[in-house]
Symmetry: C2
Subunit: 99 residues, 2 copies
């Protein structure tokens, strides 16, 4: 069955935006990986509550300005940070088993 | 305490990428809102399993190419789609209560 043209146009936009999201997320994880390595090298604590509070507040403000639900933006950040922690734990297990 | 300059530079990049993510997400929800309205107008079913399978496969391919965990990309899409469904349900409740 052929997709209705207006629906197809919207789906094409969604696909473009999803590709952008995936690429930005890949770049973000490259940054957090380097943060993890840097913190390990400088012997800094892996979590920083003050920094996380700032991130949440900033993202909620940005979300509001972009007409996105601030609660969703906060949930989204928590979702990503959970993955970052998973990466760091995997990296630590690898480092431990190779030492 | 002053943040170590290399850590600060990485955090600045993360903040820029997060702002990009929030704005792309806001645009994506605008698209899915229009999809919801269009489907309601054309009396099309709200979910489309074939389309969702295509989205998952495509996102996993894009993730692999960008060196992002494909399983994470799939979880990420599921996380967003859950929010889209929540939006559609809220819109339906609003439409019902105003009719």
């Amino acid at each position: 069955m052929e997709t209705q043209p207006e629906l197809q146009a919207l789906r094409d936009s969604i696909d473009n935006l999803d590709a952008a999201l995936v690429h930005i997320l890949a770049e973000r994880f490259k940054c957090t990986q380097r943060v993890g390595e840097l913190k390990a090298r400088l012997d800094l604590p892996s979590s920083d509550a003050a920094r996380e509070r700032q991130q949440v507040e900033r993202l909620r403000l940005l979300a509001r300005a972009a007409n996105l639900d601030p609660d969703f933006a906060e949930k989204f950040l928590a979702f990503i940070i959970k993955e970052v922690i998973r990466h760091h734990e995997t990296a630590r297990v690898r480092a431990d088993s190779s030492s």
